[in-house]
Symmetry: C2
């Protein structure tokens, strides 16, 4: 393939196909306007089944219900049993289609603390005229016949991640009602343990290889860009987490009797952390950015194409200036991080004692990018710590180690490592998705080169071996993972249009 | 006065007076051997009265009991009422004496958690043949008639600080029985709120000025040098404590979505702490050691005269090497510290979340020396923080401050500041105490130029306006402030000899 820029590719693709399916979006729009009540009712019904991953019985009720929803649309549907909650699988074969899409969403939700919610029960959806904290009033769901874009459904999983499932199936209905067929074979896989880190997803690949084969996985999950514009994310950062402990005296010692004489582990931890970054936030661990090439013109175009809302973000967060080394958010997330997510040593506040503490710990996370696999990055941090004169232990140091090594530290890897993934923008399937959205919405979608956060199913993507991308659809202010999770209906209705564009890509 | 070295002065003084009172110690030794049971019984009786400062009724029982003990020895004794627990005051005038000593001890004790003690009741003293953790067995107190040096009394305040009171009064008895009179007028002040920071001690000076006037205050409190040799401490470090907080985003933000972009306050706190010290432990805050002169030959002699047990300490604490900048403990404590006594930011361990925290706090203490008054030192730390580009706030930053200042910190002074004190070794009264101990024990005492820790009554010393020093007597392994507080009887009997030497100085 000749070296065309991405924009040129998109433009050409759009021009070539624009005449063929000019009316998908308007057809879907019309259908949604007429069928609002039924679509919302189907979502409300699904949201009414509790779906915390640990609540096995109710999770299975969700799975059975979802199988029914798939079958209603003509999918061959089944539950794929795992060692945990079942995966819901459905397949819709399209005559003449040469491409197969694997659409992923999850039907489990975050645990709930009902006492913190504004409504009685997070699994009894409530319709409101807007955000609660902006004066949104409750509207009777049963009697509502038309739904405004700014109205919201409040319920656990309204946004994360049941509404994308309902939107995809509504898109199938809308296309069918409009006499339009999907242009790809559709496979749907619905995860029942995503919020519990999907422990059974990778093992399922071996068991259900044939069913999971596809040309592209599209993950319908997460919030759309804050502008509300259709969004495609080509990748996501991974994560490796560890606790870094610097050891001091065997037990805390009196800061008066021994201050200046006995080295202080909290001070040393501070110095160790400071050695890892320069004051601008640039990471000084040797080789941390190895393999990350300078941005190409295409990369640069993608990064520049994302509307920059950093001024508003800084204002929201109450931060006057970003890190000097990473003044632009889209660039910042293309690089690995080394983040202190927590600190502890002895006590602060009423329990504080005048001691030199026995140890100090920083809870750290490294956000990984495609070029920086987690294990190698952890090893680079270990090498850096050793370079600062530390002897690294796996367990609490023995008397012998204490007697021998003046500086002792521990790097305890605490969680499963998740690598990053990134599908290149030149990938034909990724291009096709982008093109389909541009065509349908008559404007290029927001293309995110790398999401800053981590998609827990990155290992699943890695194991599948074919490209993947995310198509997020829900409002960014959805209180995901917290109390009062909600879905803005305008986003939900647009999600149906987005899903239809993907099905017709 | 001509410039004689301290050792020469001590030697001359010892030579001049050695012939005059050759037998104080042997007379006291003999008296103690004969009167062991009565002396121990008096201690046990005093220890049986609960003395936690907040237990006002029992504390007053202690005070009344102590007044009786003083009167028994011919002291003019009274309770000096304060806004809190009473001070017990006693005066013994000695015909012909031209010097007045003010002897200070405290009769209140640390709170107790009886369930953590090996005995049922911390206020029912138990006699043991040695340390519990070294197999010491209980011995029936009532039937014991002679007491070995290695035996111990277990009870709250056995060491801190009731036994020094009993030792001083036994010394008065022993001298009287031996036909020897004190060489100074003796004033005794017994504090009932020391473990509660003596809030009423400084105000008492104004109310009871005449009674508290003296030429030297001698504080009988604290553990003797670990060698067991008679010990004089000429001063003690003070303390100023504060919490240093670096502010980040208004609330924790997702470390994936914003990592690299939003500055991390825990990282910045680490960098700020690291900026305050070099890797050897040398403090880099400008002017921190201002006013501290190079050690004189006398200083050096005092410091070198303290038996160096740092190798054993390092082994006990499990630390391979001291701070490179302060390799000798006695020198280390002559300088102010800047100590991180605690750290906290978000969560570490099971509660850790993948965020950039909203703030990070270090609980700090500065140990002060005589040359470095606390308020000025806090100001120097503030100046250092400002030099690192921080805007200092007193309260949580407002939106306006957040919008304006990229780096925001808070230094919250948390506790009452206590300055250091140090009586110069050339002070005639201090010299007299040192000389008296050398004469009596036929070896120079351990002279501590500055105790590393803080004596809560330093403000009292400052307000009194005459020199003060400490004569500690109890075993260093006394579990002071903890469960199973104990007193080694050999130390107790020696305390009587030490007190007698001071009374005859």
């Amino acid at each position: 393939m000749s070296r065309l820029t991405l924009s040129a590719l998109i433009f050409v693709a759009a021009a070539l196909t624009a005449s063929a399916q000019p009316d998908t979006r308007s057809a879907v729009k019309t259908w949604v306007a007429v069928n609002q009540k039924a679509v919302v009712a189907e979502l409300v019904e699904l949201l009414s089944i509790p779906n915390v991953a640990a609540d096995v019985a109710n999770v299975r009720r969700n799975a059975e219900h979802l199988r029914g929803m798939l079958e209603k649309r003509g999918f061959d549907a089944e539950l794929l049993e795992t060692d945990g909650n079942p995966l819901v699988f459905g397949e819709l074969r399209v005559p003449g289609a040469t491409r197969t899409l694997l659409l992923y969403s999850h039907y489990d939700g975050q645990p709930v603390a009902p006492e913190r919610w504004s409504q009685d029960d997070p699994f009894t959806p409530v319709l409101r005229s807007g955000r609660i904290d902006q004066g949104g009033k409750e509207i009777d769901l049963a009697s509502a016949t038309r739904f405004e874009d700014d109205w919201r459904i409040y319920a656990r999983s309204a946004s994360d991640d049941k509404s994308p499932i309902v939107a995809v199936l509504a898109a199938v209905d809308a296309l069918k009602a409009s006499g339009l067929a999907p242009t790809s074979n559709i496979r749907i896989i619905l995860d029942g343990e995503e919020e519990a880190s999907s422990p059974n997803l990778v093992p399922a690949i071996r068991k259900y290889t044939d069913r999971l084969r596809a040309d592209l996985m599209i993950i319908f999950d997460g919030p759309i860009h804050s502008t509300g514009r259709p969004t495609v994310a080509l990748g996501a950062r991974g994560i490796a987490a560890f606790d870094l402990t610097v050891f001091g005296p065997r037990a805390g010692v009196h800061s008066g009797n021994y201050g200046n004489f006995i080295p202080n582990p909290a001070q040393r931890l501070a110095e160790l952390l400071a050695s890892m970054k320069d004051p601008d936030g640039r990471i000084l661990v040797a080789g941390f950015n190895d393999g990350i090439a300078t941005f190409t013109a295409d990369d640069r175009m993608i990064l520049d194409g994302v509307p920059d809302d950093s001024a508003r973000m800084l204002q929201t967060f109450g931060v006057a200036a970003p890190s000097a080394a990473f003044p632009r958010l889209q660039e910042a997330v293309q690089f690995p991080t080394l983040n202190v997510r927590g600190l502890v040593s002895a006590h602060v506040g009423p329990g504080a004692r005048t001691i030199i503490p026995d140890r100090a710990t920083a809870a750290m996370d490294i956000r990984l990018v495609a070029e920086t696999p987690g294990e190698a990055m952890l090893e680079k941090v270990r090498a850096h710590i050793r370079q600062q004169g530390y002897y690294l232990v796996d367990d609490d140091p023995t008397d012998e180690i204490r007697a021998k090594h003046p500086k002792i530290a521990q790097m305890a890897v605490r969680e499963t490592l998740t690598n990053a993934f990134r599908t290149p923008p030149s990938d034909p399937q990724a291009r096709a998705v982008i093109t389909a959205l541009e065509r349908s919405f008559e404007a290029p979608p927001v293309v995110i080169r790398t999401l800053g956060g981590t998609v827990p199913i990155a290992q699943f993507i890695e194991a599948l071996g074919f490209p993947a991308l995310l198509v997020p659809t829900v409002n960014f202010d959805n209180n995901q993972h917290e109390e009062d999770e909600n879905l803005r209906l305008g986003h939900f209705f647009q999600a149906i249009e987005i899903a239809a564009a993907v099905l017709r890509m």
